[in-house]
Amino acid sequence: MNKTTQRILNNSTLVLFAIVLLTFSILSHHFFSFQNFFNILVQASSLAIIATGMTFVLLTAGIDLSVGSIMFLAGVISGKLVVAGFPLWMACTLVLVIGVLFGLINGAFIFKAKVIPFIVTLATFYVGRGLGLFISETRAVNLPESFLKIGSTKFFGVPAPIIVMTIVIIAGHLVLTKTIFGKHLYAVGHDEVKSRKAGIPVDGLLLKVYIICGFCAALGGLVAIAQLGAISPTFGLQSEFMAIAASVLGGTSLFGGRGSIFPGTLIGVLLIQSIQNGLVMVNADPYLYTVITGGVIFLIVLIDSIRHLQQKKLKRLGIN
């Protein structure tokens, strides 16, 4: 294996991102425009926020399948309240509180009862969606204008969703790289037993991580709702998979301890969103979207695994 291929393998997501941008720019003259990049960013904001939270969880070698349900449940409750005449700020706060609560429940089961994250969050995935459907009686909740207004507000010409996304990503990035909490996160993801030996408060950390993820899910949901203007019973379905995919595309390892929010997860999110947007721009068959997105994710995981295999082989033979 020569150096260039190795380098391409190491930066497969970036390479693919470039290829995607180039392809769509050639295929559609609408794609490569300032306006459209703005569009992509706005459309990506919700996913980026959720994926930021997911990255925290993945870094500890955990997983949170319940984010889609959190989005939905929080959205439904706040929507119902707003429709019933509660003030907007109260509803928004409540959304975030619900997100935190759900994270707390996930975290508690994981670190208190020691049930593995996959099962805990799979269960809360169904409980959350069930509760949401129960409260909404499986009906769509139409939100008042005021909600939509938040989504389309602009500060200095920048739409609110982009601003929220930027804040979340910067905050997440700072926490990961500049605080002891972030460092402990990587340590726990690498080896929980060693972390305990090193005196890291592992349990509290796991709890915090799931709370962060729940909070981000709720916030991401809010951003999405503010753009949609309505919450249908399918709202948030498969969001958890897209968030996991975005993190993994951005180089976060499912085995924990490796990954970053900036640039990692952000690039993953932008890649997914660019593909979706580009497919529309070239007027592709809408049913093809999932196939292509799924294919791209498969490809990246494949490349990543092949690289991993090779490194393992080299390491075992003492070359490195």
């Binding site: 605080t179 002891i180 460092k183 060693k194 972390s195 005196g199 033979l317 003492g318």
Partner: protein, 505 residues
């Protein structure tokens, strides 16, 4: 007196692991702690390091009573414990590892952020103290084993300890690297830090220690100044009997025919390994850890792909070796790593024993003849003198190290091996079990099989083998016939290559 331990006892359930052990340690002194595995060294050190409390006994640091409840308490009293398995996070940088539990911080806008500037400064100080010239920012996974060991020591130093406990610090180091570690230890000694040094390498103990303590079966057998000890006297204290009774008498001599021939084997840092093994021969491989012995065995057994060379088995070339084929041919491989590569620890004895031989017990449609296989597994478990209450209801994880190793042996004996590759078969098991394993090996050879014995214990090789090959830095450097066996010459040969490199540096 800096540290004083009196009558320390520890029992787990009904097993008495420590039966009233005590010793003293003074400033700037290095105590060499030796003993067979299971003698209670680690338990004693874990008590000292605050990992668990003693059942009874007294500990004093600087004359004050000392009752650590956690590793942190020990650290606060100035006792640092460097475990055999390093507690490093490979995905983090050098500086982050150094300060994982106590990172310098600064306040910005009410938030507590890492103070990277200060961390870097402190890290460079610590690194220079241990003579490690790496950037604080470089990720630990890029460091060599020796650098990691040094980093762990730097980490211990960051808490400015008065006592450092080393548990087998040289197992993953080359000779040259170990020498550097020894220089550092001597330097620390001069600075007044007391140390407890646990090692199986008695040469190192003789080289470093001021005083020596020997443990056997939870009791302090002897302790005293280094001058009072020689290596054979230490061994005698450790083992409790003389070496020559310990190995079974070899009655057979190797036959003329070859069983396995390896020519020019190479992959990675393994280069040009050629040797052959005769029927009824025990061929020993000696070398330091990391010399390439296990890697060679893995290549032969097809666990890693070989790049060059050929393997001839009973006159027939094996082009792409793999475990499936070897098992068919009757070649067994007991790996060095019992827990990870030898046993399904959460499975019962029977299933473990039958695993490798299963294909030979299948009838039509791959249906297994359970009656037969159950009978044979039981016979084999008893033949290896494994101690168990139930072969079907007991998990292997509940067995002692020695019995676990016997289960692995039973598994391989069930395929009736014509060649048995044993990689450190007696690592970490008690003396009785060791002896039984030697007897088993001998009787296997008497039945016409051959054995490749890889070991770091020279005594073991001297006692059992017909021939010893010395491996160093991925190559076979020297061959000793039985009549030329000589402890110091073999050791010298193993160090030889490393020594040459040292001169170059």
């Amino acid at each position: 007196m800096l540290l004083e331990l009196k009558q320390i006892q520890k029992s787990f359930g009904e097993v008495n692991v420590l039966k009233g052990v005590g010793f003293k340690l003074d400033k700037g002194e290095l105590l060499g702690l030796v003993g067979e595995n299971g003698a209670g060294k680690s338990t004693l050190m874990n008590i000292l390091g605050g990992i668990f409390p003693p059942s009874s006994g007294e500990m004093r640091v600087n004359g004050k009573n000392y009752h650590p409840k956690s590793p942190n308490d020990a650290l606060n009293e100035g006792i640092s414990f460097i475990h055999q398995e390093l507690n490093l996070f490979l995905n983090l940088s050098v500086a982050e590892n150094l300060f994982i539990s106590n990172y310098p911080r600064k306040k910005t806008m009410g938030f507590s952020f890492l103070n990277q500037k200060q961390a870097r400064k402190k890290a460079l100080e610590l690194l220079s103290q241990v003579g490690l010239s790496v950037s604080p920012k470089s990720p630990v996974e890029r460091l060599t084993a020796a650098q990691r060991q040094m980093l762990e020591i730097a980490k211990a130093l960051s808490a400015s300890p008065r006592i450092i406990i080393f548990d087998e610090p040289t197992t993953s180091l080359t000779r040259h690297e170990a020498q550097k570690l020894f220089q550092l230890i001597k330097k620390l000694k001069q600075e007044g830090i007391a140390m407890i040094y646990i090692s199986h390498n008695l040469d190192d103990i003789m080289h470093l220690a001021d005083r020596i303590a020997v443990l056997r079966d939870g009791e302090l057998i002897s302790s005293g100044e280094r001058q009072n000890y020689t290596i054979p006297s230490m061994v005698k204290d450790m083992v409790g009997r003389d070496m020559d009774q310990f190995f079974p008498h070899r009655n057979t001599v190797p036959l003329k025919e070859f069983s396995l021939e390896v020519k020019n084997l190479g992959a990675g840092f393994i280069q040009n390994m050629s040797f052959s093994i005769r029927k009824q021969e025990i061929l020993g491989f000696y070398g330091l850890v990391g010399a390439g012995r296990s890697e060679m065995a893995r290549l032969i057994y097809g666990l890693d792909p070989m790049e060059t060379g050929s393997i001839i088995w009973n006159g027939k070339e094996i082009t792409s070796p793999n475990p499936v084929q070897w098992i068919k041919e009757g070649v067994a491989f007991l790996t060095e790593n019992r827990q990870e590569e030898g046993l399904m620890t959460l499975q019962n004895l029977e299933k473990n024993i039958q695993l490798a031989a299963l294909p030979s017990f299948t009838r039509r449609f791959n249906i297994i003849d359970y009656k037969e296989v159950k009978k044979k597994s039981k016979t084999q478990a008893d033949a290896t003198k494994t101690k168990y209450h139930s072969i079907t209801d007991q998990l292997v994880s509940t067995l002692s190290g020695g019995n676990q190793q016997k289960v692995v042996l039973a598994k391989w004996l069930l395929i009736h091996p014509k060649l048995f590759i044993l990689d450190e078969p007696t690592k970490g098991i008690d003396i009785g079990a060791k002896h039984e394993i030697y007897v088993l090996a001998n009787s296997l050879v008497e039945c016409g099989s051959s054995i490749m014995l890889i070991s770091s214990e020279i005594e073991e090789l001297l006692g059992l083998c017909d021939r010893i090959l010395v491996v160093s830095e991925g190559q076979i450097t020297k061959e000793f016939e039985k009549e030329e066996f000589d402890r110091s010459k073999i050791l010298e040969a193993a160090l030889h290559k490393a020594g040459k490199e040292e001169q170059k540096l």
